[in-house]
Symmetry: C2
Subunit: 95 residues, 2 copies
């Protein structure tokens, strides 16, 4: 099992548009064969920050996700709304 | 339901000691009456960063957690191992 969390920061005033792009990504991502779970969160204390919490069957599934047409389309659509490149990291559960 | 994620960064070379403090906090936190789930993760790409992913029954339960003796003890023990104060934020699931 591979766990990914991505921090995605919106430019000022672009939060609603970025949310729309990220929400559109959920269903096709959950539909990928290696997707165990895929959830999107919004930081209530820092409204411009979104976080995805993802579980993939293995590293190949996580890599394949990033190469899908729906991710490519989302990256293209999100470009203008991002404050910086998404911070995508792998996590290991330690408790 | 209240969801909290906390980012906790270790000082260089203090990762193992901080991990120990954070792992000791898991059982008593899960034992609190308002705790729905409490998980600890380590960033595999940035080894000094830990993240807790927590669900609490309501805001009162999340507040009560921060006021427990086990959290106070952990904060005191962790003090020397922290690169900065933990970043503790509430999140709303949006997908």
């Amino acid at each position: 099992m591979v766990r990914i969390m991505a921090r995605i920061s919106a430019r000022e005033a672009c939060e609603a548009k970025l949310r729309e792009v990220l929400q559109a990504l959920i269903a096709p991502s959950r539909g990928e064969s290696g997707c165990v779970s895929y959830e999107l969160f919004e930081n209530e204390d820092r409204p411009l920050e979104f976080v995805t919490v993802e579980q993939w069957a293995d590293q190949a599934a996580a890599d394949a996700h990033l190469a899908t047409p729906h991710v490519a389309a989302a990256m293209a659509r999100a470009g203008d709304f991002l404050a910086q490149a998404p911070l995508i990291h792998r996590f290991r559960q330690v408790g």
